[in-house]
């Protein structure tokens, strides 16, 4: 009898110890992130996670699962989604093909119920367009919009001056004339690339398409309903062909982003279309020569247009309710004015929600550019958002043919249509 009573007491004591331990247990969250290594935002990310861990010590701890490189990080996330081993915290990109995969997995937490209970955060998230971007077809909000990007065309003011150009052209005819002058002055006018995802070439294609009402409509069309025979697309391809044939470096064909960016940073080309994330490299001694940053200007696309893209959001893949709650705490932490202003100051991104902009110390280039971008007549998305992924994938096959004149713009458009229909 005494032994039985003792056993019962020991069992109760053990249960109490476990319960006590559980209530005091630190929740560990895995954060799959590409903002590591040499990523321009790596320092901000590391400091943010460290300060959060310090502030929430004993309650929540974030462990970073760093994967350098956009493509590698996406493949890891996609594998996690397929294997049902989602990270607790993740970056959700606005790229439709990636977003649709995450949405379809059903494994990203719907943040709407959490936001509904948090009046302060709800008041901050005032950008309906941004919220719509990260809401899936079932009305689930999969990420807190974090950054928008206005994407223009960087140009080297020194090289422009040497070519006798006083400013950036405001019409496409003026752009081609300026390119001719730059070419005559001995410098390749613009950095382009046909390798990898043909990023800078695709940005120029979007600029050629988007700077008209018909073009904005074309870029806003869903990929499944896209019309590649439209004159606005064929004309844009023709302009891109002119650039590839006559106004870029010989190694643009087959080049990846590194080659295109390096050509601009080393003064081999006078222009490059790219987003605010490139600003950091202008003053990075590992990327550009000393004194390069002051030479760089950032302009709207001729025709008064700018690419306005939702860029990233942050979301959660946690399953247990305690981890979901902890993840939401971190997502809220990211929206603090001090944390967010540091982020915006680093990369020059435009805000995805309401914040105190007086604390944001934009790089010079963005300070000059964002107001004119906001006032641009035409605002449009990037080309990959308007077509199927297979068409984007085929660009590095078709662009060399376009550059060499082996495909006419109409034939190029026809190939895009065939690929879209077949995939």
């Amino acid at each position: 009898m005494k032994r039985k009573a003792l056993l019962v007491l020991v069992a109760i004591a053990c249960l109490a110890a476990v319960a006590f331990g559980q209530s005091g247990k630190e929740v560990q969250l895995r954060f799959l992130s590409l903002q590591v290594g040499v990523h321009p935002e790596a320092k901000w990310f590391e400091q943010t996670v460290a300060s959060f861990n310090t502030q929430y010590k004993g309650k929540i701890r974030i462990v970073v699962d760093g994967v350098a490189g956009d493509q590698a990080a996406w493949e890891k996330l996609r594998t996690d989604a397929a294997a049902d081993t989602m990270p607790d915290l993740l970056m959700v990109k606005a790229d439709r093909s990636e977003f649709n995969v995450l949405a379809q997995s059903g494994r990203v937490v719907d943040l709407k119920p959490f936001i509904a209970k948090d009046a302060a955060l709800k008041a901050k998230l005032n950008d309906a367009g941004a919220l719509a971007t990260y809401t899936d077809d079932n009305g689930r909000l999969l990420g807190i919009p974090y950054a928008k990007a206005y994407v223009g065309i960087y140009y080297n003011k020194d090289l422009f001056r040497k070519a006798g150009l006083s400013g950036f052209p405001t019409t496409w005819d003026g752009f081609l004339a300026a390119s001719e002058k730059l070419k005559k002055s001995g410098v390749a006018p613009i950095s382009l690339m046909t390798g990898e995802n043909a990023w800078t070439s695709m940005l120029m294609l979007a600029n050629f398409i988007g700077t008209s009402n018909a073009g904005m409509k074309w870029l806003a069309t869903k990929p499944e309903a896209q019309d590649f025979s439209a004159a606005v697309f064929v004309d844009a391809v023709a302009k891109l062909q002119t650039l590839l044939e006559d106004y870029t470096t010989p190694d643009a064909v087959g080049a990846g982003y590194g080659v295109a960016a390096n050509n601009f940073l080393q003064g081999q080309t006078a222009m490059i279309a790219n987003g605010p994330w490139m600003i950091g490299s202008f003053s990075d001694p590992k990327s550009a020569p000393a004194g390069f940053e002051p030479k760089v200007g950032y302009a709207l696309a001729p025709g008064n247009g700018v690419i306005a893209m939702e860029n990233i959001a942050y979301g959660s893949g946690s399953k247990p309710s305690d981890k979901q709650a902890a993840s939401f705490e971190f997502l809220k932490y990211l929206t603090r004015d001090d944390v967010y202003s540091a982020y915006l100051s680093t990369g020059g991104a435009a805000p995805g929600f309401k914040t105190d902009m007086s604390k944001v110390n934009y790089p010079r280039i963005n300070k000059e550019f964002v107001p004119i971008a906001v006032a641009a007549k035409y605002k449009y998305t990037i080309f990959p958002n308007a077509v199927k992924p297979a068409v984007v994938d085929a660009m590095n096959q078709l662009l060399p043919e376009l550059a060499a004149g082996r495909l006419s713009p109409a034939e190029f458009a026809g190939k895009c249509a065939d690929i879209s229909a077949s995939n």
Partner: protein
């Protein structure tokens, strides 16, 4: 239990772990690939049975089949060059080195060096060599005054892309030369001595004695080279990604491109085609070299 029964049991026990591992890693994977190639799997999840739809697409679709046939052609081209150029060069090198020419040990090390450098590093190096703005070839042909070759974009010109890819590996003969050389030095010297006494020249001895006696090894090298070429991916992905306009496409690259687009079942159908092609070329090489039959 008889000695024969004991021996059989011992043999089975000895191979069982390897057999199990092989079955799990390879047979299960191949079975999964075959099975999913007849299902719809265009997202994260496998959906309904679609029969031979992926194979019809591969062989007859207006957009996809030209890419598939180009990839098969390139794979066959690679295999042929491996069998009729790469390995013969390796055998010739082995015969020369086995003749103990002056400095043969140094040559052997130099020839083997490319095989200790990663394919990725080589791809990056060759991209610079072939770069149309500042590459080595541009400089060389510019210095020689051959403008037509100076301005070629080697990796993205339809006429030069595939030959440029071939050049990045066909002269790397060290690995197979060392294997064949090891077999050559095991040939009894008496055979050469008696042939020499009979007045046979060095070339004659190589053709009539060396080549027949290393047949098995050369055949094995051909199979290794061909199968290595069928699965070769990294260099192609980094240098051309199958371009321009799929002219340097291979089945391994095509499969990867479709995986990137989440067309998983179609990618697996390509995998089945690659497996079939691999089996075919290995069977042909096996038959041609009569591998397994003694050379003596």
């Amino acid at each position: 239990m008889s000695i024969r029964g004991d021996t059989l049991r011992f043999k089975l026990t000895a191979v069982l772990p390897a057999l199990l591992l092989f079955s799990i890693i390879y047979l299960v994977s191949i079975g999964f690939m075959l099975t999913t190639s007849v299902f719809k799997w265009d997202s994260l999840y496998i959906e309904g049975f679609v029969g031979i739809r992926n194979y019809v697409r591969m062989f007859a679709d207006r957009v996809e089949s030209p890419t598939f046939y180009r990839a098969v052609l390139n794979n066959l081209s690679w295999s042929s060059i491996a069998a009729f150029v790469h390995i013969p060069l390796a055998v010739l090198t082995a015969i020369i080195l086995a003749g103990n020419c002056r400095g043969w040990k140094v040559y052997r090390v130099i020839l083997f060096l490319p095989h200790v450098i990663s394919i990725t590093a080589f791809a990056v190096i060759y991209k610079q060599v072939f770069n149309p703005s500042f590459g080595l070839l541009r400089g060389l042909f510019g210095a020689l005054g051959i403008a037509s070759l100076r301005d070629v974009n080697w990796l993205f010109d339809p006429a030069w892309a595939w030959p440029s890819i071939i050049v990045t590996w066909v002269f790397h003969v060290g690995f197979f030369a060392v294997i064949v050389m090891a077999d050559i030095v095991s040939i009894p010297t008496e055979l050469y001595e008696s042939a020499q006494i009979d007045g046979a020249s060095a070339a004659r001895r190589a053709v009539s004695i060396t080549l027949p006696l290393v047949r098995n090894t050369v055949g094995t090298c051909v199979i290794l080279d061909i199968t290595g070429g069928l699965k070769y991916f990294e260099g192609l992905y980094l240098m051309t990604n199958g371009g321009p306009n799929y002219r340097t496409e291979t089945l391994a690259l095509y499969l990867f491109q479709k995986l990137q687009l989440l067309q998983n079942s179609y990618a697996n159908a390509i995998g089945v085609a690659l497996l079939a092609l691999g089996l075919f070329v290995v069977l042909v090489a096996n038959r041609a070299f009569r591998i397994g039959r003694s050379a003596y």
